[in-house]
């Protein structure tokens, strides 16, 4: 992390002192602080008390180094309690080559620490005013996977094409993400002492907006692999995990109303970990549908239904509970929620957001592999969040 922070500082200082003209450099940032409470679950903290662990700070810059070449970087500081690892991080720092420019086809190649451009809100999930709710639907934007899903160190391609059928955008990326100890514990459990590593993350997506239509449709394919090196002092074993996803999404945008939905099927394969011969291969499913209503240019409301199951053949978690000898309650096999909220733009740069989620189940509460049945002891729980965002 120190190396990362040093690299960021050096890169941003280099950008700051570069001789480029004002038109060739762009700066943006945001400061967001909120209050969040999730009584009955360990979503934010173990006590369920009101917490200020809803902090998001970011500073980014984009520099034109030649007509077709840019360097973009962003540092963020996040504190989300149990939701994801807290602290300063290099969110992205990449070289952007705009290598094809014609009237109906434009294409870019990105190299470095790249953002996940594949899902509807994946590239800016930490930027409060670019997402529709303070807490994104966990079926798709599972917070425990945040650091892994937000981007990777590698290469990405984006091509945009226009023809009589409409606008097409194709994205492809391959890379790997460093997995911190805190991130490993969020995924596997607090009892581990070995080292989790991501071998690769490979994604492709295609978006289509029919000509002048209010609809847009997308499809995403994801394949990733992780390996775990167990330490000698723990009861777990060396293992391989692979996660693959197929996702479909749609958006329908009207003047006042906006509807969006993403659905996914995720295959989780575990080879090892609990014993050298342990094998698990299961298909999870999930998705959300969200409606937004812009009552005025300043005031926006939203309502959302979110649903996910860890194993599509065990939708109410009975089998999960039986397999654990009753130690893991059935409600860890799924999570479904109803949410509603609003955001109000006090000025061009200041926004206040508030929302409530009513949740059943603990299937999207970390850790994933060794569930925390002590903290997450309620089948039904709520989430309240209030956040003030300043942007510049």
């Amino acid at each position: 992390m120190n190396n990362t922070a040093n690299a960021v500082a050096a890169a941003l200082l280099a950008l700051w002192f570069s001789p480029a003209s004002a038109a060739d450099i762009d700066w943006n940032g945001f400061i967001a602080q909120g209050l969040i409470k999730a009584p009955g679950s360990g979503f934010v903290n173990n006590s369920g008390d009101t917490s200020a662990e809803l902090t998001e700070l970011g500073l980014n810059s984009r520099l034109r180094v030649a007509p077709a070449w840019h360097i973009s970087g962003q540092v963020v500081y996040l504190d989300g309690g149990n939701r994801y690892p807290s602290g300063l991080r290099l969110d992205y720092l990449f070289l952007d080559w705009y290598f094809h420019n014609s009237a109906d086809l434009q294409a870019n190649l990105y190299l470095g620490r790249i953002k996940n451009q594949h899902w509807l809100y994946s590239s800016t999930r930490d930027v409060p005013f670019t997402r529709p709710s303070i807490v994104l639907p966990q079926s798709v934007y599972f917070d425990a996977f945040r650091d892994i899903a937000v981007g990777s160190d590698g290469v990405a391609l984006q091509a945009r094409h226009y023809n009589s059928l409409g606008d097409f955008t194709f994205n492809w990326s391959i890379g790997t993400t460093p997995v911190s100890t805190q991130q490993s514990e969020l995924l596997l459990g607090n009892a581990i002492s070995g080292k989790l590593k991501m071998d690769f993350d490979h994604q492709a997506s295609l978006y289509w907006q029919p000509d002048l239509s209010r609809f847009s449709f997308g499809m995403v394919l994801l394949d990733s692999k992780f390996s775990y090196r167990a330490s000698e002092t723990e009861p777990f074993f060396a293992s391989d995990f692979s996660v693959s996803r197929v996702m479909l999404n749609m958006r329908y945008q009207l003047e006042k109303w906006e509807f969006s939905s993403e659905i996914q099927q995720e295959r989780l394969q575990v080879d090892g970990f609990f014993s050298p011969v342990f094998r698990q291969d299961q298909l999870g499913q999930g998705g959300y549908i969200m409606a937004q209503y812009r009552q005025s240019p300043q005031l926006r409301w939203f309502a959302m239904l979110d649903y996910s199951v860890a194993n599509k053949d065990d939708r109410r978690g009975q089998q999960l509970s039986e397999n654990s000898g009753g130690t893991v309650p059935a409600y860890f096999g799924y999570q479904q929620s109803v949410a509603g909220g609003l955001s109000y733009d006090i000025s061009r740069s200041l926004r206040l957001s508030a929302e409530i989620h009513w949740v059943e189940g603990a299937g999207r509460l970390s850790p994933v592999i060794l569930p925390d049945v002590v903290t997450n002891r309620h089948k039904y729980w709520q989430l309240y969040a209030l956040q003030l965002t300043y942007r510049f």
Binding site: A23, D26, N28, F30, G58, N60, R62, R64, P67, A68, S72, G73, Q74, Y92, F94, D96, Y98, N101, S102, A103, D104, Q106, N108, Y110, K115, Q117, S123, T124, V127, F129, T130, Q158, R160, Y162, D167, L212, Q253, L254, E255, R294, P297, R348
Partner: protein, 133 residues
């Protein structure tokens, strides 16, 4: 009656946006799809490879709202969301913001490669109108 018709049409033509570029831009027409690619920052270079500088008015200005709906066929919030997502994921710069139409014209006159829009356009030696087909 004739006066009413005339005033209505005069008003209509006065309110329509004209797409204007700096004189350095070697183009006199664009398709609506190209215009949308440029203002959504997907196309960032002119055909000769020089950078495109997009200039816009504030989201809440009536001129911007008319331009967005009529010329781009996008609601202003869609355009703002696209710019936010791009500028915070590092994939495009934000367009340059002009305070009002006079400022817009001043920026278009002085910035090579710039494109913007004005209502009630009057011929100007430093900028030129681009036809949208």
């Amino acid at each position: 009656m004739l006066a009413i018709v005339l005033s209505c049409c005069a008003f209509k033509s006065a309110a329509a946006s004209t797409v204007v570029v700096n004189n350095s831009v070697a183009l006199d027409k664009l398709t609506q799809a190209q215009l949308r690619s440029i203002f959504t920052m997907r196309q960032i270079q002119w055909p000769d490879g020089s950078p495109i500088y997009v200039v816009v008015l504030p989201d809440n200005s009536p001129e911007h709202q008319r331009f967005s709906r009529e010329q781009l066929r996008l609601f202003p919030y869609q355009l703002a969301n696209i710019w936010d997502r791009q500028s915070f994921s590092g994939t495009a710069s934000r367009p340059q913001l002009a305070a009002d139409q006079a400022h817009m014209l001043q920026l278009l006159r002085t910035t090579p490669g710039s494109i913007g829009y004005v209502e009630q356009y009057q011929a100007d030696p430093a900028v030129k109108e681009v036809r949208i087909e």
